[in-house]
Symmetry: none
Subunit: 205 residues, 4 copies
DNA sequence: GATGAATGAGTCTTCATTCAT
DNA sequence: AATGAATGAAGACTCATTCAT
């Protein structure tokens, strides 16, 4: 009975949803979650005020979806860049480079997420932590742990070190000017981290 | 006599202003600037809704004052703890300790400031950067520069390094649970930074 | 062949219309006319959101149709049960029994109608009164008037008495719990009405 | 510190609250709860849109307050008129007269309440039943029970009879035209009820 | 006939701010 | 100085209705 095929309709819905999420990222990055205007989000995605409510039950759900999508993108982005690197040092550098690139490429999403990370909404923070869990785990298991085991890193506490690294990562990645240009260089940050962790006299590998 | 009354009045004004700022810090820490309710701030300071407008022209000015007061407190707090330390390593440790202690002691203010730092309000961020300028300068001039000059630190870029250190500082200090307990230890963070910066084989001094 | 298809189509249309009215009754009974959601009605009838507009020009028309259909059902229901009774007392009892049974059997429709009857929509009330006119008339002509003429009832005003009886009828029928169980017994109500109207010493007939 | 005395302020609040409730009664009577516009209520009471929210936390609370106030008014109204009557018959008549007079005098409130009574909002119905409990109890204890005990009434079930009487009462009181003129006469209704309940050959007392 | 994506008018609610006292 | 009643702009959300397919 439907004139559109099922798949066509799904395609339209997917695209609209994407457009709304993109729009939400921009609006939230610019004004913060609390000041983001749902009507504006829908309209600057090219739709009427109410359309967003055909796709998300409310403002909260919109942000939750944005967080999850961003984390997923971010994860993919990092994994792709790191898994090909074999040495610990290379991985560390690739990790920071990936972060900086991600922010540059997905600036609004990244800003929105940073906003939440240091913002007052406990509920969203938890969503964020959960969504980023895989990245945390990856850093611990694929960079820190091998580094320590191979003797490249000092015998640091893996837990604390992961936290420190992520803190450095998020803190430095998030420092960009309005155009998205980072204030620091991924190499500089990676170098800082490398020196902080490496065994003296260690050979890079 | 009139003079006396005058100074009494001033004293009362100062105290009321303080109470309002305290209240603002708590409210903003809990709900974020955008969701902070000015009426609530005034009332939980023990005054009527309108009273805050006898002290600050509006919500913005209230936050600006809070930022400036917090920066000033923070500066004093750090300087007191560091100036007595002579060695670079001691100063580094004292710096992080002071930060963690400040957050613990002035939790609402610290949370409010972190909120702004990573939040979407460019205008407030600028105020914040300006207000924290002296601390940036102090770290650069009293920790990094002497460290490099004395050969205790590697010959790093002073500008980048200050930024990195402040990033690490703010990022780690701001990670506290709801009760204000930090997730990391200042010693651990200081150690991380120390290793990142020190000349290999350097003697701590 | 074409004729056959024609009637088949009509049959389908009739069934769809019925399904939509059933669905409307349930939704309106639950949420009231104002809060009834047209899209929900269409969907819980098993169709898409827009389908209802292929059968009714709008929300109002949907309710109007529901009122008329309900009145018609109600009328048939009552007439069937009463016309077979000959005595005035029997008719009175049958009348209340029929009402209670109707409510039990067509709960959502009955609730929707009661809703309108005591609700604020003058326009619908008028539709309702018109649609129920035959029942009013029937009660007046087939119960009250014969009762008075035969001396079984006191010489009451036929107009007022019909109104009183209908009021009692609607008021008691509409008092059901959420499952549709009436709070009163038709016999009790009929007995009350009988005593109110009967000539003292009258013989039931 | 306050320029108004406490009592003056309280007086103003009381009056404003009253005005808002009056306005709410009119608006709800006219359009029903669901279609009543809170902004309109506030504005036709002579205030700005938001003022109502300084007095009631929301639309629901506004209606709850209206129900309770109406029940209280109604109770007072009835008790005053009935307690002075000693005989059962007189009380029955006074009861219906009071009801009709109440509706005439407080038409919007009465219509609003009737609306709720037969409307779809279970929550409000419960509030309404609770608020009207004292009137139910009064009818049972001060009219029905004495009537039965003195032999003036037939030995009916007190519970059912109270319900029947209240049903008749609410049903007949609520039938008014748009101007508030009742369709029935309290004496006619009282007479109907009296005949329904009285012992044959009973002497009125 | 049926579909469901899209629309946008309408409503409840919040709260920064004003100001008469 | 302080008060708190009042304001009204702004924004989240609902849903009856339209219409291209």
């Amino acid at each position: 009975m439907a004139r559109h095929k099922q798949s066509e309709r799904e395609e339209i819905r997917r695209e609209t949803r994407q457009a709304l999420l993109d729009s939400a990222a921009v609006e939230i990055a610019r004004h913060g979650y609390d000041n983001a205007n749902v009507n504006t989000i829908s309209q600057s995605a090219g739709f009427a005020k109410g359309t967003v409510y055909n796709y998300f039950p409310g403002k909260e759900a919109l942000l939750t979806a944005l967080i999850e999508e961003t984390a997923s993108l971010h994860r993919t982005f990092i994994l792709e860049r790191i898994q090909t690197e074999k040495g610990v040092h290379e991985r560390l550098v690739a990790f920071f480079r990936a972060g900086f690139d991600f922010v540059t490429q997905y600036l609004p999403r990244a800003q929105a997420v940073i906003n939440i990370l240091y913002g007052p909404h406990q509920h969203f923070k938890e969503t964020l932590y959960e969504a980023y869990q895989p990245i945390f785990a990856f850093v611990g298991q694929e960079i820190i742990a091998p580094g320590i085991q191979s003797g490249v890193f000092r015998p640091v506490s893996p837990g604390y070190t992961t936290t420190l690294l992520m803190t450095l990562y998020l803190g430095t990645c998030s420092q960009v000017d309005e155009r998205g240009k980072p204030m620091l260089d991924p190499e500089v940050v990676a170098d800082f981290a490398w020196n902080a962790l490496k065994q003296e006299y260690a050979v890079r590998r």
